[in-house]
Symmetry: C2
Subunit: 421 residues, 2 copies
Amino acid sequence: MGKILLKNIEVQGIRSDILVEGQYIRNVAPAAEMTVIHEGAEVVDCTGKVALPGFINMHTHAGMSMMRGVGEDMAFHEWLASIWEIEKDIDGEYIYHATRMACLEMIKTGTTLFNDQYWHTPMAYKAVTEMGIRAALSYVICDRNDPETSEIQKVECRKLYEESKSWSDTVVFVVSVHAIYSVSESMILWARDFARENGLKIHIHVSETEKEVKDCMEQHGGMSPVEYLDSLGLLGPDVIAAHTIWLSDKDIEILGKRGVTCVHNINSNLKLASGYRFRYNELRDAGANVCIGTDGCGSSNNLDMLEAMKTSAMVQKAWRNDPAAMPVKELFQMSSANGAKALGLNLGEIREGALADIIIIDTDNYHFMSPASFEANLIYSAHSDCVDSVICNGRFVMKNRVVSAEREILDQAKKHLNNIL
Amino acid sequence: MGKILLKNIEVQGIRSDILVEGQYIRNVAPAAEMTVIHEGAEVVDCTGKVALPGFINMHTHAGMSMMRGVGEDMAFHEWLASIWEIEKDIDGEYIYHATRMACLEMIKTGTTLFNDQYWHTPMAYKAVTEMGIRAALSYVICDRNDPETSEIQKVECRKLYEESKSWSDTVVFVVSVHAIYSVSESMILWARDFARENGLKIHIHVSETEKEVKDCMEQHGGMSPVEYLDSLGLLGPDVIAAHTIWLSDKDIEILGKRGVTCVHNINSNLKLASGYRFRYNELRDAGANVCIGTDGCGSSNNLDMLEAMKTSAMVQKAWRNDPAAMPVKELFQMSSANGAKALGLNLGEIREGALADIIIIDTDNYHFMSPASFEANLIYSAHSDCVDSVICNGRFVMKNRVVSAEREILDQAKKHLNNIL
């Protein structure tokens, strides 16, 4: 069983030593006070560095990492049509290379777990496990109201779920329901039952655009998407709802009461002009579990959680006309512990007994030369290149900014780029 | 006279060679077609890299680089009071070290010229010239309606202007008028005349907050800050107005007609909740010269122009509900050529005969692995760590991300940090 001893690393303001043993954080103690046996450990001096739990990107489409800027300057529904046009032609090999590049970007920006929704999942699984980070991968139900497609997707979803039983414990199988406008009611109900019977989480886009809400109200007797999904018995603490931008007070009450996880994807929402008034305070106060995501590179156009955290806070302050909106402490909760909670995983904190997903931040640069807190400087001043090293599941996946497969991944990506043009 | 030959570098989509001779760009030609004599030049192979004009940060307070996060979570006027409290105690030596650190950050993020407004200007001058980039440095008039202070500041301003006549030609002297709420009318008029008599630009904060506009209308018979300044004969193409967030249609007409430069500082505006509806399209169409700035680290909290460009565009798209708002091409204009125009300098473009302020972008990373344009990927996907090398005034100030003074600057900054606590 591998051991890593991180020496003299700051953990919540205290200079500490962290012992990682196997997959887990075995001990966290003030520096040089460690009493557990750490003989045989790889010792890494982390003086001047800070430990944080790895970021958890709770909504993305990793396979879109080579689609940055595709459909630039388009509104949501026009953009989605152009993406669907491209997606018809991509294959598993493309997804493999794109997902590896997405994992490379996530590692370099401090993300150790992502909640994904994309196609060719077995190839994404191959990429993720090779790269050594965690993911929640899904089968994406998206029948576009075609009964024949529904039947095919039921079979495929069941088959992938069976396959997932032999997956590594670093990857969780989730049932994705694309959205109410792209999935038939009968299929939403099927997904609900299938997920609940098998104890799986459900990942769905909800109330992303004003159009989605208007169309839903027209088609479902004045019910909003949240009310409609609640009427179908879909909403619960096992549901991860991406976006939730256009919400009524009643929607917020429902999402809170059901304990739904709501994932805020500010960059995508801004860039596609989907809406920017994410009702963070209200959702949090109602009892929803609020997380942060980047969305896919087709709309965001990167997978940088620190950037998403900063922009989320900045835009909250602005539209609420409240410079104290979305405090730094809560941003860190939203980007780690809340994601772990949503997926029911024992991680998201630097704590004895938790799975060892740790990022090491280098503070020896101009971003941190200020009297402000480490957290404030990390979010408001720094960039993701301050992420010096990344441990996931007890193993280094990046050390001193080096990811061993980087060169090969970029070369392969270059080769496969032509496939989507 | 030093010569640099940048070989195989992309300039506006064409693989080119650029010859820098002395301070100037001597020749730009398709790769290997250069006919001018480049013997004796330092030859740098830039295959896979792109040349851009250095960014021009048109509104900042460099001396605040060690004040990141000071007054966190405060609204503008409360924040400003807390900053003024700190500024009472800072001295020239502090400013020297803070300005060097600001220059370090600007170099590492691709900025080669900044328009500054801060105290202890001779020490800022020393820092800037040592670091090798350009600046517009100013005397800051801020009498807070105290006649005694006015008289002192007139003398000091004249004295600094005289001193500036022996400055390096890489630094321009500008007259700063802090804002209408912090400078008496008689002093605004004095600054106007002093600047015009000596052919100097005027740098002023205008309509940054709603409060500023309301207070002005109360005090000046219903006139907005723009109308008030216009009634004083201040506005013209020699005026650089920072912020201009709260503008009426009439204000925009005036700013356009007078050819004023308006500097958008999105991060500061968001973070202090000053306002986010910067009326870019209207100002541009009216004839104003729109530029981008970061504001000082006290409010922004960094000096990263690429981040400012991205956030500016994202927020425009969102509040205008138009995903095509603020196109990429215009962002580059605002961040280079428009700044050069405002300051009347022969730079801001990669062009024969222009001053050689060139940044070299490395595209061999995941940010650029997409079919989108280089410009779109640089703004929407990449970070400033893609800035590989920086040439200012014909000399490398960063090569392969190494700024020679970096270690010493950080060590000195650490030492001086205590002074502001």
